[in-house]
Structures are given as structure tokens and as C-alpha cells.
């Protein structure tokens, strides 16, 4: 008597098993999609897109698979440690290459960009000038050229960062500071501090520096109007930021010789006067 254990051909059995597995996986995929989709949308909204083509050229296939396999945060962190090692050794080519690699690998942390830009714009010019013989030997024109070149590279890095962090005022501030501190380009520095100050979450000093730079550009009236508007927008007129801004306004009023009755009155003062 043949029973139910009658053996099937192993090939048929294998096909049957594969079919069961595929059916199980695809049906589950369909059933799970309504649960997965909203979660994925939430997670996706917080993640920058990866530039795969660019990355593949910059790193090996193994690392790329690792990146795509979800290990990019830890790979980038490890490479960042390596970057700092090269930075300590004042090794310009390796430091710059690693900054590019780390920021391509994981563009999400803003400190990779900011610290990378600072290394590029502030530290590397010193290394290059020292390598050429030092500040006493290298002509001033060459020093300026190197400073300009490195500063522009730093700015370029931050410009790329802005694609990933469009709402982050720290990026814009970093550009402003490079123009101001490194290139002594007051015009551009004022422009970028102004842009930063207009962004949500920007520190108050951005607006004050913007006004100060306008003043240095002999646009004191513009600076005065800007600072008044800025002060009026501050939520707490008693805050230190508001007090400093008011002091600067008073300085400018003195400078512009604004008559006493036309001087800026903070909102609270108006109310106090109305009361009387």
C-alpha cells in the first residue's frame, strides 16, 4: 500500500517550497504595506538623499555596500576620527580628501561640514604657508592668494552642505564668518550675516553683526533702520540681546544725530507714555 509519504521528485519539491516562500513573502509585503508606508514617509522625510554616483567614485564598492547597508553613520564617524588624525598631523591633502569623503558618506551631521570648513578655511592656509617657508619668507601676496583659495574652498563646502541643511542658519553664518574673518570681505560678510539673521532659529548676534558691517560700509542709515526692526521683533525687550541691540541703536542715533523726539522708542516705552 502506498501511503501519503509517497516521495515527490526533489526538483518538484524544491519548486513547491520556493513557490510557497515567494507567495508568503509577496502576500505579506502587500499586507504590511499600509503599515510600512506611513512609517517610511516619516523616516524618509528626515533623511537627506544620497548621491550614489558621486559616492561610488569616492569610495570603494565595499564601503558603498556598507553605506547602503545602513552602516554609513558608523563608517562616517570612523572616517571622521581619521580626518582628525590627519588634521593633527597637518597633512593637507589627506585632511581635505577625508573631509570630502566623510561629508559625502554622511551629510546629515552639521558638524562634519562646519568643522571641515573651518579646517579648510582657517587651518590649512597656515600649514601651506609654513610649508612654503613661513610667514616671514612667503610674500604677502602669496599668503593672501592662499588664504583666498582656502577660504573659497571652505565656502564651497558649506554651499554643498546647504543642499542638505537648507534651514540651518549655522551654515549661512559659517559662510558669513569666513568672509568676515578670513577674507575681510565686509560687503559679502554683511550680506551673509543678513541672510542668516533672517532665518528661523538664528542667533541674535547675526543681526547685530549685519548692522555693524553695514555701518562699516558707510550704510549707517540702513543699519539703523534694520536694527530698529530687529529690536522690535525681539520677543523679550528685557533680554540681554535686546539691551545690546538698543545700545547699538543709541550709538547709531548719536552718529546719525537723530533728534531726541525722533529717536527709537521700544514698544514697552510707548505703552508707558500712553499710560501717562
Amino acid at each position: 500500500m502506498l501511503n501519503r509519504f509517497q516521495a515527490k521528485h526533489p526538483f518538484i519539491r524544491r519548486i513547491q517550497t520556493i513557490f510557497i516562500c515567494l507567495a508568503g513573502l509577496s502576500v505579506t509585503g502587500l499586507v504590511v504595506r499600509p503599515i510600512e508606508a506611513p512609517v517610511w514617509q516619516t523616516v524618509k522625510s528626515g533623511q537627506p538623499e544620497l548621491n550614489l554616483g558621486e559616492l561610488e567614485g569616492a569610495v570603494g564598492q565595499g564601503v558603498l555596500i556598507g553605506v547602503l547597508g545602513g552602516f554609513r553613520a558608523i563608517f562616517a564617524d570612523l572616517l571622521w576620527i581619521q580626518t582628525n588624525h590627519y588634521w593633527q598631523q597637518k597633512d593637507q591633502p589627506k585632511t581635505e580628501t577625508m573631509i570630502q569623503l566623510v561629508t559625502q558618506l554622511d551629510p546629515r551631521p552639521d558638524f562634519f561640514w562646519i568643522n571641515g570648513a573651518r579646517m579648510t578655511a582657517y587651518d590649512i592656509p597656515n600649514w601651506r604657508i609654513r610649508a612654503l617657508g613661513g610667514y616671514q619668507t612667503v610674500p604677502k601676496s602669496v599668503q593672501n592668494e592662499i588664504d583666498y583659495e582656502q577660504a573659497m574652498r571652505g565656502i564651497e563646502l558649506i554651499q554643498r552642505a546647504r543642499e542638505f541643511h537648507p534651514k540651518n542658519p549655522r551654515m549661512v553664518l559659517e559662510i558669513a564668518q569666513i568672509y568676515n574673518n578670513r577674507l575681510k570681505d565686509t560687503e559679502n560678510a554683511a550680506k551673509w550675516f543678513g541672510k542668516a539673521a533672517a532665518m528661523e532659529g538664528a542667533p541674535h548676534f547675526a543681526a547685530r553683526i549685519h548692522a555693524e558691517l553695514l555701518r562699516r560700509l558707510d550704510r549707517t542709515e540702513e543699519a539703523y533702520q534694520y536694527l530698529k526692526a530687529h529690536h522690535a521683533d525681539l520677543p523679550d525687550p528685557e533680554s540681554i540681546a535686546a539691551q545690546i541691540a538698543l545700545e547699538r541703536i543709541r550709538d547709531m542715533e548719536d552718529e546719525l544725530r537723530v533728534p531726541a523726539l525722533r529717536r527709537y522708542l521700544p514698544t514697552r516705552t510707548y505703552r508707558t507714555l500712553e499710560f501717562f
Binding site: M1, L2, N3, F5, P10, F11
Partner: protein, 304 residues
């Protein structure tokens, strides 16, 4: 209603497919066996004869290609049938990090022995297999003989009606083998059925009620030991110191009954028996308190 047989195998064939082409290797062919309750049954055969495959099918570890196998009326593939089966595999390997007691307790839990009875059952079977003194030691430090005995304990812990032992004395010294044989006899006395697969024919002969001999997956002989080993139309007399004159007289006496004396020979002990006798007597002299020397195994380091 009569008790169903411990094991009933009908028309059992097992083919193994090799590769994707499905080339078949036949391990067991049209096997029919019925093992009654409360027997010690020997399964004999050279390597590759299908003994292990048959045992695995009985245990539900393999599905037959054709045919049926039942244990006390339950299909062997069902988990329920295994409540009444205890199994000691050949050269058992157990979790080395557990002590003997922990190991047996683990299998008691797996078999669903009620919690209240576990401690009692565990110590009972450990005592039965003579492992009480070594029960606290890690299994990794056990010798082969001790492994076999703790293996027997785990097979018996849920008090199964059928015990299947695959080469229970493989790699065990004669003292250990004799101890295991003693345990098997005890099991029979307790009403259990034992299916035994072994290469040691002398041991099978001394233990089993019935044996089956397999060759290339086929059953070639089956019956009681007496049925299989008795010489046809022959009887033997054992006497003390037969002299030539006495032999002539016996021959003459037999002749008057029309019977011819075929041969005379000196009865011998088997080597197993001689070894056991000599060693056991010396052990008894050396340590008079030891009742059963065979059940005491020196604590060798692990050889697994």
C-alpha cells in the same frame, strides 16, 4: 482489546534522493516488522544495512518513502507517539556546559514531565544508570561510558514504554557494557520494550528475546535467539573430565539407541564473560564495599 504492538512496520521503503536529478539511494526496502510489548528486540546488520534509517523512521525523524510505521498504534510521524518513546542515539553528544542532573532535568522538561515530579524522576533515573556520584559534574568532563549512561537517563526520564538504543555500548569498556546490559534487563523487568541496535553480537545474544538481521536494507532473518542459533538435530551433554574409557562407554551406549556421537569439545567461556569474571572478582577483593563494579566508571577527562 489486546495491547497493540510496541512497533509495527509495514511495507516500509526509504529512498534518499541525491542531487537535483533525484537519483535514488534505497536505504530500506519493503521492511515488515512487528515488535511485541515487553521484549528486548535486537536489530542487527553491518554498516549501511538500514538500521539507523529504520530507527530514525520509528522516531519520526525521517518520513518513509512508502509504507507505514506505528508505535503502540500511533503513526510514528506524530509527536504524540513520541511520548511513549525514549531514545539513546549512537555516540551521543550533549550540552557540555550542563551538569548531568541539569541535562536530565532539561529533557524532563522538554518531555513535559510535571514540575512536581521532575526532581524525583531525575534522581530516580540517574540512580538507575549509576551516575549519582557524578551527576553534579559537567557533561563535558564525562567519559564515553558515562555519556552513554547519562544518555540512557535522559531517554528514560519521562518513563517511556518503548526504549530505543542505537549502539548503546559503542566505545564503552566491557565493565560499562555489562552495566548497560544490566540496566536493559532491569527495564524489561519493569515491563518496558527495548529495541537495541548493536554490533556486539555476544551482547545481543545474551540480552535479546528476538532479533532481526538486516542486509542492504532488506530483512534477511527474524526470530528468537534459540530459533536462529540452534543446530538442527543436535544435542550436547556437558560432563566433568571425560576419560577415553568413559567416552568409549558413552559411544557404545548411544549406539544401542541408534545415535552416533558426532564430536566432543571442551566448553568455553566467552572472552566477555572471562573478562567480566576476572575483573569483577579482583574489584571485589580490592574494594569489598563495591556491590556492582561494572556500574562504577572511572572519572576520565572528556574524550568528546
Amino acid at each position: 482489546m489486546s495491547t497493540p504492538p510496541a512497533i509495527s512496520i509495514k511495507g516500509l521503503t526509504k529512498d534518499f534522493s541525491i542531487g537535483m536529478k533525484g537519483t535514488k539511494l534505497r536505504a530500506v526496502e519493503d521492511l515488515n516488522l512487528e515488535i511485541a510489548d515487553n521484549q528486548i528486540y535486537g536489530l542487527l546488520g553491518p554498516n549501511g544495512s538500514g538500521k539507523s534509517t529504520t530507527i530514525k523512521i520509528i522516531l519520526g525523524l525521517l518520513a518513509p518513502s512508502v509504507g507505514a510505521c506505528e508505535i503502540y498504534g500511533q503513526p510514528s510521524g506524530s509527536v504524540r507517539s513520541r511520548h511513549s518513546v525514549g531514545f539513546l542515539p549512537e555516540a551521543p553528544y550533549f550540552y557540555r556546559y550542563l551538569s548531568g542532573t541539569e541535562l536530565v532535568r532539561f529533557y524532563a522538561r522538554v518531555c513535559g514531565v510535571p514540575k512536581a515530579e521532575q526532581a524525583e524522576r531525575v534522581s530516580e533515573v540517574i540512580e538507575l544508570v549509576g551516575m549519582t556520584e557524578a551527576a553534579h559534574r559537567r557533561v563535558g568532563t564525562y567519559s564515553k561510558g558515562m555519556l552513554q549512561r547519562i544518555g540512557l537517563a535522559q531517554a528514560l526520564v519521562h518513563d517511556p514504554q518503548l526504549v530505543i538504543l542505537d549502539e548503546p555500548t559503542a566505545g564503552v569498556d566491557p565493565l560499562g557494557s555489562a552495566a548497560i546490559a544490566d540496566i536493559i534487563r532491569t527495564l524489561k523487568k519493569r515491563g518496558k520494550t527495548v529495541l537495541l541496535s548493536s554490533h556486539l553480537l555476544a551482547q545481543i545474544e545474551g540480552l535479546c528475546d528476538r532479533v532481526a538481521i538486516l542486509h542492504r536494507g532488506k530483512l534477511i532473518r527474524e526470530g528468537t535467539i534459540a530459533e536462529l542459533t540452534s543446530e538442527a538435530n543436535a544435542e550436547s551433554l556437558v560432563v566433568d573430565a571425560l576419560t577415553p574409557a568413559a567416552r568409549t562407554a558413552v559411544e557404545a551406549a548411544l549406539k544401542t539407541h541408534g545415535v552416533r556421537l558426532r564430536r566432543t569439545e571442551t566448553p568455553r567461556l566467552s572472552l566477555d564473560q572471562l573478562f567480566l569474571k576476572e575483573v569483577s572478582s579482583r574489584e571485589a577483593e580490592h574494594n569489598p564495599s563495591t556491590k556492582n563494579t561494572a556500574s562504577q566508571d572511572p572519572g576520565k577527562e572528556s574524550d568528546s
